[in-house]
């Protein structure tokens, strides 16, 4: 009976609209991007960093900004992998995962902003990646793409490749436990 009551409440709640949400337009970094498209936004775990895709020198390129100042952080090591696609950030913005291109081939890249190290991933099998999502702690990476004519999602273990990037106040080895069963 209880689930039915909750579903009924749910139906009542849908359509109430938002109540006093604070919203803002993500400002471009400088006037140069004022009239341009800005796509595929991704925030770090606690919102200190925003990365999105803009068009620069005729190619899709990542723009990473501190929030809320909008101060842009250059990403020169990624330039040779343009056009960029599908960015994703870890908790503190230490890791930036993205899809890039090199010699016409799609590449999955992880930039460690703490060390400046760029880690290109070689995917097993024949998955052609189209989208990605990096787990906030950097332990896993989900890729969506096409393999053998089929669209699917695969998850990869990165725990042995990169250190975890945990939310502030959590010791290394601490899991971010699910609170909801």
């Amino acid at each position: 009976m209880k689930p039915l009551v909750l579903v009924a409440i749910n139906l009542l709640v849908v359509g109430c609209g938002d109540l006093g949400l604070y919203r803002r337009r993500a400002g471009p970094a400088g006037l140069a991007f004022g009239g341009q498209d800005r796509e595929q936004p991704a925030l770090s775990g606690q919102g200190e960093w925003l990365v999105s895709v803009v068009e620069r020198h005729g190619r899709q390129s990542l723009m990473m900004q501190a929030q809320p100042s909008g101060q842009e952080v250059p990403l020169p090591s990624l330039r040779r992998f343009e056009p960029h696609d599908s960015p994703s950030l870890s908790w503190n913005g230490r890791y930036l995962a993205l899809l890039g291109k090199q010699g016409g081939r799609s590449r999955v890249l992880i930039l460690d902003r703490a060390s400046g190290r760029l880690l290109p991933l070689q995917l097993p099998g024949d998955l052609q990646p189209e989208q990605l999502s990096l787990a906030p702690d950097g332990r896993r990476l989900a890729l969506a793409g096409i393999t053998r004519g089929r669209r699917l999602v695969q998850v990869f273990d990165l725990a042995k490749m990169i250190e975890p990037d945990l939310p502030r106040g959590l010791a290394i080895g601490t899991m971010v436990n699910p609170k909801v069963p």
Binding site: I9, P124, P136, V155, V180
Partner: protein, 170 residues
């Protein structure tokens, strides 16, 4: 001992080390090979065609096509089990983009329903959906929910341009 040179053993060792170095260089150029998470991959194959993944904490949200209909699926990566999302997947709705927070309670969704494209926030604990208006008016396409569940980054078509709206959630 070869006079004035290396021993045979030393030469072999040198060649072996050189070979391994060349192999390491080659691997470095090609990239590091990550391992798929087993047996999650089998579970994902069973789901059918899938796209738009969102990973946070132990949770993986994605859009999967079952029986010709796209729907949002939330899986716990640790035990590979999908969890129920009552009230979220409506038969006449087309999900476009989904995001999940690390606690797995809040999901953000862009969907098409009855000719409209709408943004909503779903709370699993309450089994409730809250529509979030796009203001100034625009059409959402992609949504990303911050891992702590406190903010949405939304790709919005407005005035003939793609823009990014940031919406804080109390």
């Amino acid at each position: 001992m070869i006079k004035g040179g290396w021993s045979r053993k030393g030469l072999r060792l040198g060649l072996f080390a050189g070979g391994m170095g060349a192999l390491a260089n080659l691997t470095g150029c090609m990239g590091t090979v990550p391992q798929p998470v087993f047996p999650l991959d089998r579970r994902l194959e069973e789901l059918g065609p899938s796209r738009d993944p969102s990973l946070a904490g132990p949770w993986l949200a994605l859009i999967s096509n079952r029986g010709g209909r796209d729907q949002v699926v939330l899986l716990n990566v640790e035990d590979q089990r999908p969890v129920p999302l009552p009230g979220l997947n409506r038969p006449n709705a087309q999900p476009l983009s989904v995001g999940v927070e690390a606690k797995g309670d809040r999901l953000a969704l862009v969907r098409q329903l009855e000719g409209r494209t709408e943004l909503l926030l779903y709370r699993r604990r309450l089994m409730s959906s809250q529509l979030i208006a796009i203001n100034p008016p625009g059409v959402p396409r992609r949504v990303m929910l911050r891992a702590d569940g406190r903010e949405l980054a939304v790709e919005v078509s407005r005035d003939g341009q793609w823009q990014v709206d940031l919406i804080e959630i109390p």
